[in-house]
């Protein structure tokens, strides 16, 4: 048996959504730092907060999951992707990227609910449904890793439900049809997409990748299976307490697994993700004590989802960069860690956490200035993330061009 070269997915389908995710995050922080946005004042005639939230949810979290998902589904399924995977990815990328851009521009455009937003939303939904079909097909052919597959399966089902609700809400606001009371509808839309789709993918992939990169065992199957069950049963039934039990169990199981890693050093990827998991436990506590609250969305995005995603990205992106740059070269190539260095990832991660903290505190009642300072820090942290990845790519590329390790980049 020889490994299938198709487990390495062409970068042309992975890079575009990941690049958009990297660019959308500083844009979102920039809008949040804008005067008046965080205190709810109009922003160019529209809600800047709505645009920023969608830049984070659709632009950053969704695009990162879409891009990384193309590469990581074969790891989850433990085999080469189904035939036509790269072609499907290219079509979905085109629909999702153009649709997402249209939706966000539509939400931010001075004219209410313009045609651009509707067309963008439709393209985005079509691309995501097509992608869901591909992912579900790949998962159906898989072997092993049953609990990880459950996270992804339920994430996709939640995503489809959340998208349907989003389309109904959008049409309802445009006066096309009567829908659910807006606030209840928005809460369900946010929960299904943010906790169901984004959360399911992040924990499913994070539960696989973080232990793998930290050289620790995968999360223990029973608590991990109980966590995924409670997480999605709670969401489906709309019972926050059940979801909260699943969230706390998921966070604790993954933290326990990371605590038993063979790699003793704690790099920014691991501590960022770990802090995100502690925030998830906090979010579970808030839901358990006070039920679903709008402020929980800020906590979920700023303190859990973004730091956790940044933590995972700091592990997987340099690795993929390394693999693609040094394809088939028998040489002591620089490792992923040497390409990124250690200081910039640490600073970027710290800024991201401070940013989430600042904005969350403002939405929980602290002065707006705290949130704006947080947003500026978030902008700096996200920009630094782009800089460190660009620098890593440039260093790796130079090393390949010169056919030797750069000074100070020798593998350890």
């Amino acid at each position: 048996m020889r490994p299938d070269p198709h487990t390495l997915i062409p970068p042309r389908v992975v890079i575009p959504p990941v690049a958009v995710a990297l660019i959308a995050e500083p844009l979102a922080w920039g809008i949040l730092a804008w005067p008046g946005v965080l205190d709810g004042a109009a922003w160019y005639g529209r809600s800047g907060l709505l645009v920023a939230v969608h830049l984070i949810t659709v632009g950053t979290l969704m695009m990162a999951i879409v891009g990384l998902g193309w590469q990581l589904v074969p790891v989850v399924t433990a085999q080469a992707p189904p035939p036509g995977w790269a072609r499907l990815a290219a079509v979905c990328d085109a629909l999702i990227l153009s649709g997402g851009a249209g939706l966000i521009l539509g939400l931010g455009w001075p004219q209410p609910l313009g045609l651009l937003g509707a067309l963008g939303g439709a393209g985005l939904i079509f691309g995501l449904v097509l992608r869901a079909a591909g992912v579900l097909w790949a998962l159906a052919r898989a072997k092993g890793r049953r609990v990880t597959r459950l996270w992804l399966l339920f994430a996709e089902l939640s995503g489809l439900a959340g998208l349907t609700l989003g389309a109904l809400l959008y049409g309802g606001r445009a006066g096309l049809w009567f829908v659910l009371p807006p606030m209840a509808g928005i809460a369900h839309h946010a929960a299904l997409l943010l906790l169901g789709w984004v959360g399911g993918w992040m924990l499913g992939l994070g539960g696989l990748l973080l232990p793998m990169f930290s050289l620790s065992a995968e999360p223990r199957p029973w608590p991990w299976a109980l966590a995924v069950t409670a997480w999605f049963v709670g969401l489906a039934l709309g019972v926050p307490a059940v979801w909260a039990v699943g969230a706390a169990l998921a966070a604790l199981t993954l933290l326990f697994s990371l605590s038993r890693r063979a790699r003793r050093g704690v790099d920014p990827g691991v501590w960022g993700a770990a802090l995100g998991l502690f925030a998830l436990i906090g979010l579970a506590g808030v839901s358990l004590l006070w039920g679903p609250r709008p402020e929980a969305v800020a906590l979920a995005l700023g303190l859990w989802a973004l730091p956790f995603l940044r933590g995972v990205a700091l592990k997987i992106l340099p690795f993929l960069l390394e693999v693609h740059l040094f394809v088939g070269q028998l040489q002591r190539a620089p490792t992923a860690k040497t390409l990124t260095g250690e200081r910039l990832p640490r600073v970027s991660m710290a800024l991201s956490i401070l940013a989430g903290l600042g904005v969350s505190l403002t939405l929980l009642g602290a002065p707006v200035a705290v949130g704006r300072i947080g947003a500026v820090l978030g902008l700096l942290g996200a920009a630094l993330h782009i800089v460190l990845l660009t620098r890593a790519a440039a260093r790796g590329w130079l090393a390949v061009v010169k056919r030797r390790a750069l000074p100070g980049l020798e593998a350890t």
């Binding site: 790891v75 433990a78 993929l320 088939g328 992923a336």
Partner: protein, 120 residues
């Protein structure tokens, strides 16, 4: 020996990880070939694949070298490159490679060579 000691030993034996199937050293020509495989580096951890515990067997039969290897996970994006690098390493010392990929038992961090684990 007290009952507590006996129970404790029995429990430790039950909880102890199974012995690593990886090889870290061999004698003679096969040992030299195993050392050659140390030129192939895991791109993420930065350890050579022998210390990582990815090599399960190296057998020399006339001019053919049979290598049994594994990867940290099935579907690993770096698997094909590592596989090709192993073949290239053997060709570079004048032998014909025959590389078999096995996943039973699956790789786990316990398979990393003890001295390499200490330096992680």
């Amino acid at each position: 020996m007290t009952l507590v000691h006996k129970l404790s030993e029995r429990l430790s034996a039950l909880l102890a990880p199974p012995p690593s199937p990886a090889i870290y050293a061999l004698a003679g020509a096969e040992g030299a070939l195993l050392d050659k495989l140390r030129d192939v580096i895991d791109p993420e951890v930065g350890l050579d694949i022998v210390s990582m515990g990815l090599i399960r067997a190296v057998t020399l039969s006339e001019d053919v070298v049979i290598v049994q290897m594994t990867f940290t996970t099935e579907g690993c994006p770096a698997a094909f490159d590592l596989y090709e690098d192993v073949k290239e390493a053997i060709v570079s010392v004048g032998f014909t490679p025959q590389v078999e990929v096995v996943f039973d038992p699956p790789w786990s961090p316990e398979h990393i060579a003890p001295e390499a684990r200490a330096g992680l």
